[in-house]
Point group: C2
Chain length 238, copies 2
């Protein structure tokens, strides 16, 4: 059963709710074919994703101005187009390809599992992705959020405590009334440090290699589940 005080669930999105790697790899392959470029597109996806972490770290450290994730993705994309020797491409087309991150497929259990969890709790995203990205993604892959929350609304990226605390505050809740759900231990440590509860949901296929995924729970995480249906069962959802 759920801890009685839990009223809302916040979800990490990239990797936890959606399969960014195969979605980006597929769209990058299409983009490559169109522009006559061949590559290992899974690696291209990984390299694009690497720019996300380093870009946010720079913002949180004050080494870069505030940038939304669309901008951080674009910074890295500019480097990758050069590295992979893409020809000259019109700006509008690059900008559209950069929105590949708005079009990511959910894991097989995501929509149905979230719908079950929504029957009992407020469910909201809490991603570092910007609000527009998350809103478009929810429409694209049918994620039934009650609210689209983002670190953008805090001006600090997870795992900074302000990102979690702002989300709880926007929902009108105390931090211990909120359960953070993520496939990444680092995110959950951040949530616990900010006073939230934590649920690790395993996503062994996120990086294409289960060795790279967080598959083992830790004592400070209140819940450990193999997917959203398992979590819904543990939280007493019908």
């Amino acid at each position: 059963m759920a801890l009685p005080e839990i009223k809302a669930l916040l979800f990490d999105v990239f990797g936890t709710v959606v399969d960014w790697r195969s979605s980006i790899s597929r769209q990058a392959a299409e983009f490559g074919v169109k522009h006559g470029v061949s590559a290992n597109w899974d690696i291209f996806a990984d390299e694009w994703r690497d720019g996300y972490s380093s870009g946010m770290a720079k913002v949180n450290a004050g080494d870069d101005r505030w940038k939304i994730v669309d901008e951080i993705h674009r910074d890295r994309l500019n480097l990758l187009l050069e590295k992979y020797e893409f020809p000259e491409i019109p700006e509008a087309e690059i900008s559209e390809f950069n929105k590949a991150w708005h079009r990511l497929d959910g894991w097989p259990d995501s929509t149905d599992g979230l719908t079950r969890l929504k029957s009992k709790f407020v469910i909201a995203s809490l991603s570092n992705g910007n609000v527009a990205l998350l809103t478009n993604m929810a429409k694209y892959t049918n994620l039934p959020w009650d609210a689209v929350l983002s670190a953008q609304l805090a001006g600090k990226y997870k795992p900074h405590p302000t990102a979690y605390q702002t989300a709880a505050s926007l929902l009108g809740l105390e931090t211990n009334e909120v359960l953070m759900v993520a496939a990444h231990s680092g995110d959950l440590h951040g949530a616990r440090a900010a006073g939230l509860r934590a649920a690790l949901v395993t996503r062994p296929d996120e990086y294409g290699d289960p060795e790279k995924a967080d598959l083992v729970s830790e004592p400070e995480f209140e819940y450990f589940a193999k997917d959203f249906h398992d979590l819904a069962d543990q939280l007493g959802c019908s």
Copy 2:
């Protein structure tokens, strides 16, 4: 047909999407019975609502610190409990009654009309109500928002232009790509001044007297509809 550039619709909520007056009147009557107080609860609802406008005006003018609408409602409720000679009531119960504004019924066309509009556009709230209030209300009366946006995220209340511009920016859109939908001319003038498009949807029953409602369009409003189905027809939604 819709203007081709329109990508998202923002909705005023109190009065435009939900029938605050009869919902508050009904909950106030129940609260009155419980505490042995008789009154005209429609007038009680109107008096509570009056505190909303004056409270926000004070915040926008800098005559009060930033307060979310839950606080503004509570300020006025405290006065009304005294005026209507309610007995001493435990804090938790007053706080719960203050959330009557989270439990407002949609107009008969609201859920189905929004669902039609959602099939073609991003749809989001843009209310002065705080995010928690809007999120709980959407769950209570089944409003299928793609995103819950609020003037709270701008730190300025409508009709300040920052409230509208922040919402468009969070959706990653130019202001002229966004259509503001409201039953109130003042809100739509604010939206137009901020660069958004405007649709007046008439809600003759909002104040219990059609004379008090805005039922006539104005040249600067691009759309004029009698309800959300009419608007969906005009915007070419199936």
